[in-house]
Every structure is written in C-alpha cells, then in structure tokens.
Amino acid sequence: MAKIYETVIGLEVHVELATRTKIFCGCSTAFGGRPNAHTCPVCTGMPGALPVLNRKVLEHAAAVGLAVNCTINRFCKFDRKNYFYPDNPQNYQISQLYLPVCRDGWVEIDAGEGRERKRIGIREIHMEDDAGKLIHDEEANCTLVDYNRSGVPLIEIVSEPDMRSAEEVIAYLEKLRLIIRYLGASDCKMQEGSMRADVNLSVREKGMPGFGTRTEMKNLGSFRAVTRAIESERARQVALLESGERVLQETRRWDEGKGVSYSMRSKEEAQDYRYFPDPDLAPICISDSFLEKIRAGQPELRTEKMKRYKAEYDIPEYDIEIITESRHMADLFEAVVALGSQPKKVSNWLMGETLRLLNERGMEPEELCFSPENLAKLIALTDRKTINSTVAKQVFEEMFAHNTDPERYVEEKGLTMVGDGDILRRTVEEVIRMNPKSAGDYRGGKERALGFLVGQTMKAMKGKADPAGVGELLKELLGPGRESTE
C-alpha cells in the first residue's frame, strides 16, 4: 500500500523595515540612487567606524512582536555572524542569535475553504542589517559592489515547523504581511525584496512522530514561487524516500524560470559563523515606559477592526473582509463615513471602482491618492442626483488619478444632471415624436422598447440625466390615456 506523506514546513521571513535611515548609521534607506550614494564609513565597513542602533528599528521590531503575540525580551543583544563575502563590508553581519528581541509568539491563519483556523507558532523575531548588492559586469569581466542597501534594517521572523501545505504557508505569509503593513513597519513587497521567505521543508509518513530531514529553500521571489517550490520540494523528497534514498540536509536555491531547485551547500559544507556578542553595541534594556509607548501606539489590527465594523456599520461581512485587508483602505472607509456618507455606499465605491482601478493599474491600496473628502463629495453628488452613476464613474476615475475635487470637476465640465424640468420633458416628447415605432411598440406592451427610448433620451441629453427619472417620465408620457386625449 502506498504510504501517505505529510509535509512539515517552517519559515524564515525577512522583512525590510520602513525606517528613514539605516540600522546603524544615519544614511538614507531610499530605494534607487546612484551606486554608493547612500553610504558612509559605517555602512561601508571603513576601519574604525562603529555602529549605533537606530531606535526606530527597535520600535518597529517590538511593535511587530507585540502584534504577533510574542514575549518581548527585556534584555537583548546583538551578535556578529562572521562570513566572508564582498556584499558584506565588515565580513560579519550584525544580527541576534543568543538573545533576540522577541520570542514565542503566534498568528492565526485561515487556510482555505471550510478549514479550521490554525495557530502558527513564531519562535523568534530578531533584528539585523541587510547586505549590499553585487553587480556582475560580464562585459568588463568584473564585479562591482553597491553598498546603498548595506545597513538597511531587517527583521527575521522565524516560525515553528507548524505548516503542512503550501496553502497554509501562503495564508501565513499573507497574515504576516497584513499585520506588518497595518503597523506601517514595512510595505512587504516580495517582488521588490522588502519581504523574503526561506522555506524549511521536510516530509514524514503521516502519523509518525519526529521530523524528517529538512532542506532550506532560498530565492523565492513571489507567493507563486513559494507555492511551486514547496510542491516541487515535497515531490522531490517523497521520490527520494520512495526509492529508498535519504534526504540530505542542505540549502537549495529555487530557479523560478526552470521550476526546479539546485543544491547550494550541504550541511557538511555549512559555514561556522563563529557567532559572538557584538562588543561594539551595548546590550539593550527595554524599559516599561518604552514598551508602554509601543503598546499605546499599536493601531487597531484587522481582527479587532472586523469585529468593530460588524457592530458599527451596516455592511455585509464580505465587504468588511475586503475593506479591512488594507489598513489604508479601512482608514479611508472610516474617514468617508465620518464625513456623513452612508457606509454601504462608501463600501460600494471602495469594493467596486477603487479595487477595479487598483487591479487594472497594478497598484497597492497604500498608493491611493484621493482624499476622503473628495469621495464623500462624490457620494453626495450622486445622492442629490446632481450626476448620474455613469457620470459618477467618469468623475471617480479623474479623482482616482489626480485627487480632483468632484464638485469643481462636475461644474467645470458641465456634467450636472438635468432634473425633471422643462428641458427634459421637451426632449422626451421630441424622442417620442421621432421614434413613433418604438413608442407604439411600448404602448402595445413591449416593455423592451422603453429601454431604447431611455437610451435615445440620454443620448440627446448628453448623459446629463438620471436614467431612472427618464424612464419614469417616458412611462408617464406614453402611459395609457395619453393617446386618447389627442
């Protein structure tokens, strides 16, 4: 009988923190820039230069730790991880091995339809510095080093081996990303490298105690790559075991283009990093007041927000889920509602046009530029029937792109809807006269003919009419009894 295998997965997630300056010096963390423009003696490893911790890094790390239910180590230290590579100017990375800032946390994930919620344990979170970038110039046959990224702050979130499938891994990553974005600690973009995940994976016969030999997979640049790599590695390990071979403990590199992984180094080849406490950085004692400040500054996270929305706003649960997926979106929602708009209408705009345009343009909710005031104004314009929904969508697109004031825009472009005044009545009468066949059809009981007449009227009005109102007026003018009076 074929054996049933279970996949056991733990993750090491690196997140680049959204600080203005680097972790141990005052250089900018800005992306791009001329190579080595954002460098100084500290982040280029000049002789005699010394690190000084950026307080903001500790604040972000502690905030993430609290949000994922960790214990904050009130006494933590930095350690040096020694290895030689040119992207690392000191030839040691400053990280935390012995006393990391956070320990023993968890997050709850929802993996797929109908599955129960599951806790994924977080073993630790530590702070460390990022390395520079090597640029291989094939033509000149040389390698150049850019230290702009050297010293950019990172946290590494190490999970327990609690995940059993790619779906759970993705759910865990999405959960982390959501929390960290809510905290404003990072934008967590996998494609840009501000969130990176290394996957530790082993397989075992279902029901067996203990773990199989694990491998570590690196170079996973997207959720899709994570999923594919997990499936590929699971299959590889199962095939090895089925054919009576052993899985070797090693680090592997995923090639997303080819859809396969390669061995980078085996356990035997693993380096001895000679970790030891960095004597250049004093141990950090986290005070009650520091922690209190972080706690007080924590934003409302998604779970609490969802609960509150359910109680406070009359909108469907589905809407709540979508809106609270991004803190920015949720903030926008609340701000517009606070300006007096009806919650369901706000939610419709966010879930409809806003998401459509975001998807179309490949943008993140954080990049939305229009103000809550302008969305509230737009909603008010439609409420007052100053514009109809077609025009409103047109105005919204303009507002989405340039944060344009809808009132001014409608006025400038002359988009105001013409109400049930004389002009509309005369136009409808004209349309009836010009389309006697359709008018006759409607009178003869063909409801569909009304739609055509509404369309003709809207065309004649250049869209500045409320189609529903036009329909009512047509019915009134075409209604029974009208004919007999003539």
Binding site: P47, G48, P51, N82, R274
Partner: protein
C-alpha cells in the same frame, strides 16, 4: 627658553602668553626630529607641510583670541591606528599601506579643534598586537633611553616620540597595556581611561570591549588636560555606542592636593619576593616598593592585600582580545581599501592571498587563536568561560576598591627588553602584560608613572589603578608622587 624641556601645558601657556609661537614650537620639534628620528624611528608618517600650515593657522587664531585652549599650538603625535582624514593610516601593517581615511577619529578631531598641531602618525605593533613595536611592517622603533632596547608596545612610537622630544604629547591606544607599558619603558606618563570615557570612533579596532584611547605625556597634568580634551563628546551625534558621555571630565582643576589619608593597596601577587614565573625583576620590585615608601611618608596608608584571580587574567584576556580581533580584522579583505593580492583569479583565493600577504605573523597568530575560541564546539569552553572569568575579575576589583582608593603595582615586570629578544617567545611576551591587562578586562582607569631607573639606564614605571570613573583621584595621587619623587619623566 629651551622649548623641548617644557610640558605640553607649559608650552601652551608660553604660546598663549606670547613668549613663543606655535610655528616656533613646531620648528623645535622638527629640529629634534631631524636629529633623532633616523635612529629612533618613532613615526610612520610625518606631515611637515600640513603641520606648518596648521601651526600658522592656530597661531593666528590664538593671536585673535579665538583659541584659548591649554593645548592650542602644541605639537602632538597620534598613533597610526587612529584615523586621520586625508593622512595615511597604516596600523603599521602592510594591509593598510595605502589607506587614507575619509574621516578623523573623534579623539583626533577634539584635539585639532582645541588647536593641537598634528606632527605625524607614530609607529606601533601591527594592529596594536605586540608589546615591543617590533611587529610593525615599517621597521622597529628604538627606545630613546637606550637605543639597543625596544620602546615597549604597542604604542611604542608614541611613547618614544614623547620621550625623545619629537612631540609634546601623543595619543596611544590601550587594549591590554599598550599605553601604559611603553610609557613605563620610555620613562613617560601614560593613562588608560575608564572604558567608554573616550569615543573609539575612528580607532581601528583590536579588541572592541577592551580598547581605550589614552594620552602619553611628560607629566601627569598633561595627561589630565589631554584626557579632558579627548573625552568631550564631539558634536551632537553619538558615533560610539560604548562612549559614555561623562559630565565629570574636569580632570585637572585642583590637582596638586596632598594625599594624606589616601588608601593604597598593593596586590601581593604583583610583588612576589621570589620569582614566581611572572618575570618580575628585582629592580622593578624595589622601585615600586620605594614608591610605596614615599607614599607612606606623605601620609597615605599603604598595605598589601590579596587580589583574587590574578592568575586567570592573562588567559582570559588573550581569549577575549583574540576573539574580538579575529572578527574586527575580517574587514581587511582586499575588496574595499588597503592591500590586495592581484594574482588571484577567484574570490576566496584572493581573500586568502591578500590576508596571507597583508598581515604579519603576530596578527595571524591572534586571528587563528580568535577564530579557534569562537568556533563551533569551542565557544563555551573558551570564549564563554573567559567572559565569566572577566566578570569575576571585575568583582574582585569591586571588592578591593571598597577598601582602597587605588591599587599600586609595577606596570611591567621588567625594564624594556633588548631589540629582537621578545618575538621568539610569544607566551613570555604575553605574560609580560600581567599587571596591565586586568584594568582592560575590568574597564578600570590606570596610570603609569616613572618611579625609578634599572640596569642600562632604562626607566621603570609603576601603575596606579583606580575604580571606574576615578581618573581624577589617580591623577591627584600621580601629581603628588611627581612632586615627592626624585624621578621625572624625560630625565
């Protein structure tokens, strides 16, 4: 006026009073350099033009009343492991033979802002690893008191330059005695401050948790003035996390008080009657006991006591210092600056060749030792154990300072060895640090003062160690000793 016989403070006063000028003082130094440097070789780099320009600038500022610092216009020398912007900084290593820093060490900046005039960079043991200045890649420095002998180390060039009148004061760095021991061997005064008192920013690191920058001077008062200047935080930025921004840096005012009632303890293990393997020579022992007598006669209480754990200091020290050094020296890889082996075709071969060719044997020995004690499976047995010993040593000192104001002992077990005698027996050389390294392990301030002359006219130094932040007390006791003792620095 014989300028070269003045202390730094006396010269500064003479310049401010208009009895001489900064360029004149510098001229006197250059004349002395012209007479002595070829033999002594105190310097790796001398910046004649830069110094002259600087002296004139400073003189102008003094005359316009813009500079009033006691050290304004005083020529100084700086150990070649302190970064000096635009001036080559070699650490006496082939590895940094072409390295010109883009910034200056905070201690150097502080002195330059005070108006001191930098003459040049002094020779040292390569990367401050050694006790004789013989491991320099740029040749040995000779002891001005007896050129057949070493000046001590690792700040041998700085001590020799001060003793030879090739500058008025100098900066050294002290990881295990590197300021105090050469000061003792050259017959001048050297002070290692409490760990954290002087910013290490710009000091090329050897053992980060042990390194402190310290002054080497002709008088105790000079040491106080220089320390006051370099201990001040420069600018609003904190550049060294281990730098304590002390408010009590007034080390000099009211220095010349008496020492009646002061309690001085001498650890019995520091003055064994019979040689116990520490290599303490009779002349050194007698000189220190002679100083103790003088203190007693001046009203101090002097007694011997048992300081615990003295046997463990040397092994703990070499374990910790080497571990930190191994890591600190990893940045010298041929990639970013300094020496690079050009024949290698592949990255890791380039690293190996660069480091094999760029570092001398003593540096390699300590990197190997340091890598070993940190490696998997040895960390707990060596490095961690050494840290524990270190903590215990600190506690032993804490207990001693409950009873004594300061601890007296020799600075080094013997006078300066002959050139070429030491490097053959590294362990013996390491054991010579026995009296000085405890202050680094425990972070304590310690002062070495001349207290006698041994065979061959070689100076003997005694060491006064104080509790953390008690520099002023040490300087007071030192000042008092200068007045009552027949031995003067530079004699």
């Amino acid at each position: 006026m014989e300028l070269l016989s003045l202390s730094a403070v006396e010269l500064g006063t003479a310049i401010r009073d208009g009895r001489t000028t900064a360029p004149e003082a510098l001229q006197a130094v250059f004349e002395q350099i012209a007479r002595k440097e070829e033999l002594y070789h105190c310097y790796v780099t001398i910046d004649r033009e830069g110094a002259l320009k600087r002296a004139e600038e400073v003189q102008g500022k003094i005359e316009r009343g813009e500079l009033k610092h006691p050290l304004a216009g005083v020529p100084m020398a700086v150990k070649d492991n302190l970064c000096t912007k635009g001036m080559r900084t070699t650490c006496s290593s082939r590895m940094l033979s072409n390295f010109v820093p883009s910034y200056s060490a905070e201690a150097v900046t502080n002195l330059e802002e005070a108006g001191a005039v930098l003459v040049g960079k002094t020779n040292m043991d390569e990367f401050a690893m050694g006790s004789t200045t013989e491991t320099s890649a740029y040749g040995v420095t000779r002891n001005p008191r007896n050129p057949e002998h070493v000046p001590g180390g690792s700040s041998g060039g700085s001590a020799a330059a001060v003793a030879a009148g090739e500058c008025f004061f100098a900066l050294g760095s002290d990881t295990g005695g590197s300021v105090r021991q050469p000061a003792a061997h050259c017959g001048v005064v050297g002070l290692k401050p409490t760990y954290g008192t002087v910013s290490r920013y710009g000091l090329v690191a050897y053992g980060s948790s042990l390194d402190q920058i310290g002054p080497i001077c002709r008088t105790v008062e000079d040491c106080g003035v220089v320390l006051e200047t370099i201990a001040a935080p420069s600018g609003a930025c904190i550049r060294d996390s281990t730098h304590i921004r002390r408010k009590d840096t007034d080390f000099c005012r009211g220095l010349k008080t008496d020492i009646r009632g002061i309690k001085i303890g001498i650890p019995k293990a520091y003055i064994p009657e019979e040689d116990d393997g520490s290599g303490l020579t009779r002349d050194v022992r007698e000189a220190v006991l002679g100083a103790a007598r003088l203190f007693r006669e001046s009203g101090a209480l002097v007694e011997e006591f048992d300081l615990e754990l003295t046997d463990y200091a040397v092994p703990a020290y070499y374990t910790i210092a080497s571990a930190e050094a191994g890591s600190n020296l990893e940045r010298f890889d041929g990639i970013k600056y300094g020496y690079r082996a050009t024949e290698a075709e592949e990255l890791h071969r380039m690293y190996r060749q660069t480091r094999s060719q760029g570092f001398g044997p003593e540096v390699k020995r300590r990197i190997l030792l340091g890598s070993f004690v940190l490696s998997a499976g040895h960390y707990d047995a060596y490095y961690l154990k050494a840290l524990q010993v270190r903590a215990l040593i600190k506690k032993a000192f804490d207990r001693a300072f409950r009873r004594y104001d300061c601890i007296l002992g020799p600075t080094a077990p013997s006078t300066a060895p002959r050139l070429g005698e030491s490097l053959e027996e590294p362990v013996k050389m390491y054991l010579g640090d026995i009296y000085t390294i405890s202050a680094n392990l425990a972070g304590l301030p310690a002062l070495s003062i001349p207290c006698g002359t041994g065979a061959g006219g070689l100076p003997i130094g005694m060491q006064l160690t104080g509790d953390c932040f008690q520099e002023k007390k040490l300087l007071q006791i030192g000042c008092c000793y200068e007045q009552i003792s027949p031995f003067k620095a530079g004699d």
